[in-house]
């Protein structure tokens, strides 16, 4: 069953000059953890705001939990939880007051739905009398998630919950989402971090308001055309220039402790020739081997296809 559907949704700003969302269609299944992956300005927030009825689309139709985002906005607002990218709770209310406020808005109580937030709220409870504005970044994020969940929504929208958050807190947050999934809830999450894509059931890669690909993380990786190699040597900066200068190399870019490169064709001598070439350029301790593409490699590849 589809919990969220979008058909040919478009949205522009500045009297049509800025195309934020271009003809976007996809659907999210019940119980799925669906990731919208793309850089700033890709259109992620506009899509989330359309689905949470905070923004009207210019064109297209969309439904959430079976309701139309334009005609049945009232029903949707009761059925979804939304955590915006910017911290939007009341800074001068305490942790508990914020949570109570959101529970009351949705005509429920903390006690009634405590089960939904227990796992996250236990970490906040020692600070329940602290003002929200005085919490650390990680704590604010947890409180915002609790407030988005307290009315037991069937669909949860998380707009860039981990942007600007350090690697440790990011991992903790994703662990929370994994546990949350067991509560029969559909989750849409957006992020600019490609490495988080692998934690989703399915992902949409998005850039300039357009969907580049929709697939499972494994399927996205499998769709990568051609083969990819990793290379390194002692003098990395010189290596980058030398590899790029080699006529057989299609492209080469930094990737963690290696460079990732692809060749223009599938010639069997590519590898040995490149090593000979690099040796003649004076490189030492050259390592070259085939490598499995990551989501980020795929994203780069899709972008290149778009521009070609």
């Amino acid at each position: 069953m589809n919990t969220v559907t979008l058909e040919h949704i478009s949205k522009s700003y500045n009297k049509g000059k800025t195309l934020a969302v271009r003809d976007v269609s996809f659907s999210v299944n019940h119980g799925e953890l669906f990731g919208l992956i793309g850089p700033d300005g890709a259109g992620k927030t506009s899509i989330f705001r359309i689905l949470t009825t905070l923004l009207l689309p210019d064109e297209g139709t969309a439904t959430v939990a079976g309701y139309d985002v334009v005609k049945q906005y009232h029903e949707i607002r009761g059925a979804v939880g939304y955590m915006p990218g910017r911290f939007s709770l009341y800074q001068d209310l305490s942790v508990e007051e914020n949570l109570d406020f959101f529970a009351t808005l949705f005509e429920t109580t903390i006690e009634k739905n405590y089960e939904m937030i227990r796992d996250i709220y236990v970490q906040l409870e020692p600070f329940k009398d602290r003002r929200a504005g005085k919490l650390s970044g990680g704590m604010k994020q947890k409180l915002a998630l609790c407030c988005a969940l307290i009315h037991k929504p069937s669909v949860l929208f998380l707009d860039e919950p981990t942007t600007g958050v350090d690697a440790v807190s990011r991992k903790e947050f994703w662990d929370m989402l994994k546990r949350l999934k067991k509560q029969d809830i559909t989750i849409l999450v957006s992020t600019p971090y490609m490495d988080e894509a692998e934690l989703c059931d399915r992902i949409a890669l998005i850039q300039d308001g357009k969907i580049l690909s929709i697939n499972t993380p494994e399927g996205t990786v499998r769709s990568f055309k051609g083969s990819l190699f990793a290379v390194r040597a002692d003098a990395m900066v010189k290596l980058l220039n030398d590899v790029r200068d080699n006529p057989r190399v299609h492209n080469c870019f930094v990737f963690g402790e290696f460079f990732h490169l692809s060749f223009k064709d599938n010639s069997l001598s590519n590898e040995s020739d490149l090593i000979a070439y690099l040796t003649s350029k004076g490189h030492r301790n050259i390592e070259l081997h085939p490598v499995q593409p990551s989501i980020e490699d795929c994203f780069i590849d899709f972008l290149k296809q778009e521009h070609a």
Binding site: A167, V168, E257
Partner: protein
């Protein structure tokens, strides 16, 4: 022996009883790409503000580009460039107006501004955007322009605070091309990032935990030292011990 452009000796900053940065001691060399890592609240911003001459240390010593962080802060400011994701260029000025403004602040002559600014736009392939308002440039172009403007006055050191946050993976890599190009001209690059793959691109990195530098070496040595397969693992192993959390 390479020339050290930043040296610190037990550099410390306390806010009341809170020790934001505790006895930091290190040397950064000319032309080095240095990654200054740490969890949110570990004390990175405090340390960077001291090195930029914006915050007086409580104790300890530090020299940046040969100048003392206690009483030669104006000299330091003239010798460094700075760029962050949050603030870099003025959005309601054009690309060229931003170049002129920054170059002028750093004391370049009109002729220098004309020549260097022109070369900058050529190198970035942005000549056609010369008179475009920065607010209407794509984020990636803005960040590349901001970096180039930050080093237009040929500083010895450029400080980059999360320069690639939120930009697409292609632009992120073009940005690293610019960093390497600057480093190969001898500019020291001192940067913070939340992308652990970028930690691998640095010559050396440090990881701050609760105000202390808990690790300081090349990425390869740190992985060996902590028996980790990636910098992400090294970072996670160190930073999760942190007692402090913050913004």
């Amino acid at each position: 022996m390479r020339e050290a452009v930043i040296t610190t000796d037990k550099l410390t900053k306390k806010f009341g009883t809170f020790v934001a940065a505790n006895e930091l001691t290190f040397e950064i060399y000319s032309g080095e790409v240095f990654g200054f890592l740490g969890a949110n609240g570990a004390g990175k911003t405090t340390a960077m503000r001291m090195l930029c001459g914006l915050l007086k240390p409580t104790s300890g010593k530090a020299k940046v580009a040969g100048y003392d962080v206690y009483n030669q802060t104006e000299k330091i400011k003239q010798s460094i460039g700075y760029m962050s994701q949050k603030f870099s260029l003025y959005e309601d000025l054009s690309a060229w107006e931003n170049i002129r403004l920054y170059a002028g602040i750093y004391g370049l002559t009109d002729q220098q501004i004309e020549e260097k600014g022109d070369r900058l736009l050529n190198d970035l392939g942005m000549q056609s955007e010369k008179n475009t308002m920065v607010s209407s440039l794509p984020l990636g172009w803005r960040q590349k322009l901001a970096f180039s403007v930050a080093i237009l006055h040929d500083p010895k050191i450029v400080f980059l605070d999360e320069p690639t946050s939120g930009v697409d993976p292609v632009v992120r890599r073009q940005f690293w091309d610019l960093i390497y190009a600057a480093a190969s001209r001898g500019v020291t690059v001192f940067l913070t990032t939340h992308y652990m793959d970028e930690a691998e691109y640095c010559n050396r990195i440090s990881i701050m935990v609760d105000g202390n530098i808990d690790a300081f070496d090349t990425p390869a040595n740190l992985k060996k030292q902590f028996g980790a397969s990636s910098m992400n693992e090294v970072f996670y192993g160190l930073a999760r011990k942190a007692k402090r959390t913050g913004d």
